[in-house]
């Protein structure tokens, strides 16, 4: 036993970051002992330990309420570095860490042809640590630091295969757009600091809702706009999405699964957390903006997805579509709260919409992680990302192909798979006030987009699974077991969540309630 007791809240971060530091050292030892895989197993063990501590943290929070930890002796009044975990943060952190664990298992065989794997695992660990840190941040400054940890690791991972031109170009594009975005968000934070004198989320919320600030509502709306724009670059909202369809195909497939499954969700999380905590949705009408951007995001991305020949590019555009659903869900919640003052009417609708959005975060993380990992197997065998050349490969690789179809059906929203429920909640929340024609219009657009998306998912499934295999891929064989394991786990998860959604709905609902103040 170690004497020093690390608080439960800090444990996952400490585990992940110390594993990241130790992985290169373990790699040196492993190379001398002629056992290079020790490094992979060590990184996976780090993820398992972090996941276990997150489960402990979740049970501690659900019995004893949110936990707070102030790092250092700087003291609370000036802000300090405050880590806070409530049910929403721990829900997101569990998704991040779970996908990270599965991706690490997948990478053992998928990445074995590459060199520099000690750095790969170290960066993967810091990426997950950064995301969990964003989820646990109780103040804006801490959030920004962890945000940049996450961003810098993901730039490096996107351009990991630097001997090819595509990752380098995509990495540079991603770096420029995302850095400017985060700096805009930091500028918004500095303005808020100027108005209030603090960066702590709770204190900001108290000061702004009490109305004791010199800033006019217009300048607060300017700050809201900067926050949405800044974090929206990483969340890939439509006018700011152009980095994503380049970065996702260029990255190794395991990293595409990470980026698409969880990194862009961190952007959505940062938008929701900062807006809903600081600016009460009853007095600031950002719900409408989020709703309009959500619809724009899903419509544009759907149209673009239909034109793609590259399988990973198509999946990348479909990630943008799903971000659109989540943003619309969040937006419906904010809109209902700001346009219907009676809490008796608005709160249930907002809870329902946010629950749908949070549930969709999980479903899309699982489903899109699954699809990218499967497409990684296909690309690994066929050495091409071109859909016409990949036709029929699902018949050669039965397990991967079946899981791929399950993932496509789940994201298309076919009942009883998981994607059906979350889309249903978002759409039902939109239809819940029959008199409101704007909300009804938005929900009809969501329904139309979701049908449109289902059409190309089914089309992709038909080409991958049903067509006769081309001679070029006649030698394709099933992926090795350690690559199949995460795929099968994710596919099973989509089915299980779809058939017994009750437990996850409970988690998502409590997470959504946190955004509305408990």
């Amino acid at each position: 036993m170690v004497d020093v007791e690390i608080p439960l809240l800090v444990q996952p971060l400490v585990i992940l970051l110390s594993t990241a530091v130790l992985t290169p050292l373990i790699d040196i030892v492993g190379k001398q002992a002629k056992a290079e895989k020790i490094r992979d197993i060590f990184a996976i063990a780090g993820f398992v330990a972090a996941f276990y501590s997150l489960i402990n943290l979740h049970s501690a929070i659900s019995s004893a309420g949110p936990q707070t930890y102030v790092l250092g002796t700087f003291g609370v009044p000036a802000g300090g570095v405050q880590l806070t975990a409530d049910l929403l943060s721990v829900y997101m952190a569990l998704i991040f860490c779970g996908i990270g664990l599965l991706v690490a298992i997948y990478s053992v065989r998928y990445m074995e042809v590459d060199s520099g794997l000690d750095k790969y695992y170290a960066l993967l660990l810091t990426l997950v640590a950064g995301m969990i840190g964003v989820a646990f941040s109780g103040d804006f400054f801490n959030l920004y630091v962890f945000w940049e940890i996450m961003c810098i690791s993901s730039y490096t991972l996107v351009s990991f295969r630097k001997y090819r031109w595509e990752p380098v170009e995509a990495g540079f594009k991603y770096l420029v757009m995302s850095t400017v975005g985060s700096l805009l968000a930091l500028y918004a934070i500095s303005l808020l600091y100027g108005y209030t004198g603090t960066v702590n989320l709770k204190q900001l919320s108290t000061i702004i809702s009490s109305g004791q600030i010199s800033a006019s509502p217009l300048s607060l709306y300017f700050t809201i706009g900067m926050i949405i724009t800044g974090f929206g670059v990483t969340a890939s909202m439509v006018p700011l999405h152009t980095w994503l369809p380049d970065a996702h195909p260029a990255a190794p497939s395991s990293i595409s699964a990470m980026l698409s499954g969880v990194v862009i969700k961190t952007g959505v999380y940062a938008i929701c957390r900062s807006l809903f905590t600081i600016f009460s949705p009853a007095s600031f009408d950002y719900g409408t903006v989020l709703m309009i951007f959500g619809i724009l995001t899903m419509t544009v991305a759907n149209l673009m997805a239909l034109m793609q020949r590259d399988i990973k590019r198509l999946l990348a555009y479909s990630s943008i579509v799903n971000i659109g659903y989540i943003l619309t869900g969040v937006g419906i919640g904010g809109y209902a709260l700001s346009h219907y003052p009676s809490p008796k009417l608005a709160t249930p609708i907002a809870v329902f919409a946010l629950m749908g959005a949070m549930f969709h975060v999980l479903n899309h993380a699982v489903g899109k992680g699954l699809l990218f990992l499967c497409s990684g197997c296909f690309v690994h065998e066929a050495k091409t990302r071109d859909i016409p050349e990949l036709e029929g490969i699902g018949r050669k690789m039965t397990w991967t192909g079946t899981s791929f179809s399950i993932g496509l059906l789940a994201l298309a929203g076919v009942p009883p798979l998981s994607g059906f429920w979350s889309k249903l909640f978002i759409i039902l929340a939109g239809f819940s006030i029959p008199e409101d024609s704007f909300m009804k219009f938005i929900s009809i657009l969501v329904v139309l987009n979701s049908i449109f998306a289902a059409s190309y998912y089914l089309w992709l499934m038909q080409r991958i699974m049903l067509k006769e295999p081309k001679p070029k891929i006649a030698n394709a064989v099933e992926a090795p077991a350690s690559m199949l394991l995460p795929i099968v786990i994710l596919a099973a998860l989509t089915i299980v969540i779809g058939i017994w959604p009750g437990a996850i709905i409970g988690l998502a609902e409590s997470a959504g309630r946190v955004l509305l103040g408990g």
Binding site: W165, E169, F172, L175
Partner: protein, 97 residues
């Protein structure tokens, strides 16, 4: 007044990122935005002769983060130069929409 200078510098930085063709100048644009956000924090952190240590510590850490971003950006730039023999962003248009 410092805050006004900071917001002007943010706009100059964004202009630099958006319009310059040379990768190095794009990176310089990013650095200008980083410094001007720091300047904004410092300007808003001192009111009535009292200097808030919170703003100072934020700026120090954000300078460190800016250095990390610049390091990654420059290393990507070196790799671009190895592939293309040029730093002109117009030559980097092989990515489709």
């Amino acid at each position: 007044m410092y805050a006004a200078a900071a917001s002007a510098a943010v706009i100059i930085g964004i202009y630099g990122v958006a319009s310059k063709r040379n990768m190095l100048k794009t990176i310089i644009g990013i650095e200008i935005i980083t410094s001007s956000v720091g300047l904004n924090f410092l300007a808003l952190g001192s009111r009535g002769g009292i200097v808030d240590p919170l703003a100072q510590s934020i700026v120090v850490v954000s300078i460190a983060i800016g250095a990390c971003v610049a390091a990654v950006a420059l290393s990507i730039m070196i790799n671009v130069f190895r592939h293309y023999g040029s730093l002109d962003l117009r030559k980097l248009r092989r990515l489709r929409w």
